[in-house]
């Protein structure tokens, strides 16, 4: 069990982060806190993907041109996997965009109802 945790600790951490984010999204009454929970949720996913790309002993996935001509001899095992990094660049952008839209919505909501508490807004809407 301990070996299971230690050898995959990144994945355990990401699941704990997802737990926190998910709880924040579901349970918090304040819409801004919900948004923060959503951000934690998204960044947890990014941690997960970047963990997939890691390789023990791997270096950054950028070739340096100074050291002779190392291009031909490079083996896949020497570099970390660049694909998850690329995917996560996309996910980061998506996260930023979601936050932007949600913040704009929150500004409108606050202007219209004068509060960000969910139950108060629902009460206001019922009226």
């Amino acid at each position: 069990m301990l070996e299971q945790i230690v050898s995959r600790y990144n994945y355990w951490i990401y699941i704990i982060l997802i737990l926190i984010g998910f709880y924040g999204m579901m349970a918090k009454n304040n819409l801004l806190k919900k948004l923060i929970g959503m951000n934690i949720f998204q960044w947890a996913l990014i941690l997960y993907y970047v963990s997939i790309g890691a390789k023990k002993g791997g270096t950054v996935p950028i070739l340096s041109e100074e050291a002779g001509s190392p291009f031909e001899h490079l083996k896949a095992i020497q570099c970390v996997n660049p694909l998850p990094h690329v995917l996560m660049l996309t996910a980061i952008v998506v996260g930023v965009a979601t936050t932007g839209i949600a913040l704009a919505l929150l500004i409108i909501i606050y202007r219209r109802y004068g509060t960000l508490e969910e139950d108060e807004i629902i009460e206001e809407l019922r009226r």
């Binding site: 041109e65 932007g100 500004i107």
Partner: protein, 160 residues
């Protein structure tokens, strides 16, 4: 936040800093092919210096340097450069985004043409990211009112 601070140190420091930030942003863009960097990162740095301008001076000063109309055009222009590069490849007889086909109009071989194709799309990404980040910042910080919000804030400051 968007009104004038009138702090000499901050203003001078920003006037000194912003050109270097912009140069650095272009450096990050251009060296994205051989070192960490690229369009997104460069665009964010470029947007950061316009945001710094708003914080150090005021919104009017920033809008004088980066007009709203130009901002709207830039938002579309960047993605248009990206998609347009893809269309150029398509019109030259390749698949969409097949940069190798750009060698027909560029004086290079197909492999090197991919390098230039990527440079072109990274530029597009930088332009869009910069314009959109600045636009989102303006809208969020003033609640979409822009100059109106500035006047309100100044009026409030005068009352005090």
């Amino acid at each position: 936040m968007i009104s004038k601070w009138e702090d000499l140190i901050i203003e001078t420091l920003c006037r000194f800093l912003i050109p270097f930030m912009q140069t650095y942003s272009l450096y990050v863009l251009v060296h994205g092919h051989s070192s960490p960097g690229g369009g997104f990162q460069g665009g964010c740095i470029m947007a950061a210096c316009f945001i710094l301008l708003v914080i150090a001076y005021d919104l009017n000063e920033a809008k004088k340097r980066f007009k709203e109309k130009i901002n709207v055009i830039f938002c579309s222009l960047g993605v248009f450069i990206y998609a347009g590069t893809g269309w150029a490849c398509l019109l030259l007889g390749g698949n969409f985004l097949d940069y190798g086909k750009l060698s027909l109009i560029l004086p290079t071989d197909p492999i090197k043409a991919r390098y230039y194709g990527m440079a072109s799309i990274e530029t597009g990404v930088e332009i869009t990211v910069m314009a959109i980040m600045v636009s989102i910042f303006w809208d969020l910080v003033t609640g979409g009112k822009h100059e109106e919000a500035l006047e309100e804030e100044n009026a409030r400051a005068d009352c005090k």
